[in-house]
Amino acid sequence: MTIREAARGVTAPRVIAGRPALLTDRSTHYCPGCGHGVVHRLIAELLGDLHLADRTIAVAPVGCAVFAYDYLDVDWIEAPHGRAPAVATGVRRVRPDAFVLMYQGDGDLASIGTAEIVHAAARGERITAVFVNNGIYGMTGGQMSPTTLLGDRTTSSPTGRDARASGYPLLITEMLALLPGVAYAARGTLADAGSIGKLRAMLRRAMDVQLRGAGFAIVEVLANCPVGWGMTAQESIDHLQVVAETYPVGVMVDRLKAAGAG
């Protein structure tokens, strides 16, 4: 800034929000308005803030986010459907200094991968799980998942999910929060800008928990799927309020805090 500029009182524009460096320069394949985009962005921001990029080994799911490795600029391993927690366990056990991140959808984590997430959590693996729950199998065309709400119409529940045939929505994060090895379990939502800010704090906490060696950390994100739900992007964001009636938002367990470790 020159003296003349200072005299005129003009300051150089300061960037207060921008595209995080760890998001690659590609346009994503996600649908317009898709929640994956926001979650990817938050992770990129946080890995950058915490200077973790150089030691992150991330595990990608099978689902819409199968291409996460094209968008977040860190080392990735592609896991078979549902197996990310086992793959992440293998990484964590042989690479004690790595930062291990898992990214999974609800079909991946809460259906075929239920055994793997439960046991990784039970073992207290020092890994951070990001669980993007949009209550649908997006990539394969919009089928019902174990977290689909009762009454919701999907391509495999065309008359609406019926509890007698398909049971009730599965509350994975609440179940995991019961386990002593789980140091942090929380559920956030993309329902509005304020919630996204709170979600960012949850993700940050989940990463901190790993860095402090406290145990397993999971953040479930109530996310939208406009195309799968047959809504506009804004309608699907608004619908997250309804989802939150079945999947309450909040922190279920934070053992570091409970122990007074802050």
Partner: protein, 92 residues
Amino acid sequence: MTVALKSAQAGAAATPSPAWVPLAIAGDRCKGCELCIGACPHGVLALDTAVVNPLGYHPIRLIDAVGCTSCALCARVCPDAVFTVFAPRKEA
């Protein structure tokens, strides 16, 4: 205090210098989802229906730079990280 507020108090129609805008938008990455429009408290964003970007969408456009307070809620909700938000311009 933002430029907009100050100029409203002064009663003058203040125009920021052309070199400064509160938002930069990577229009080629926008998918026209309009979530930013829903999040913006000041109604300063709209789809540019005169343009079709390489992805095939009408990209978002800042239609009222003066009205933008750099609150950055658009950037927070954007799934494609198209926004760069600059701090409000300060006058001495």
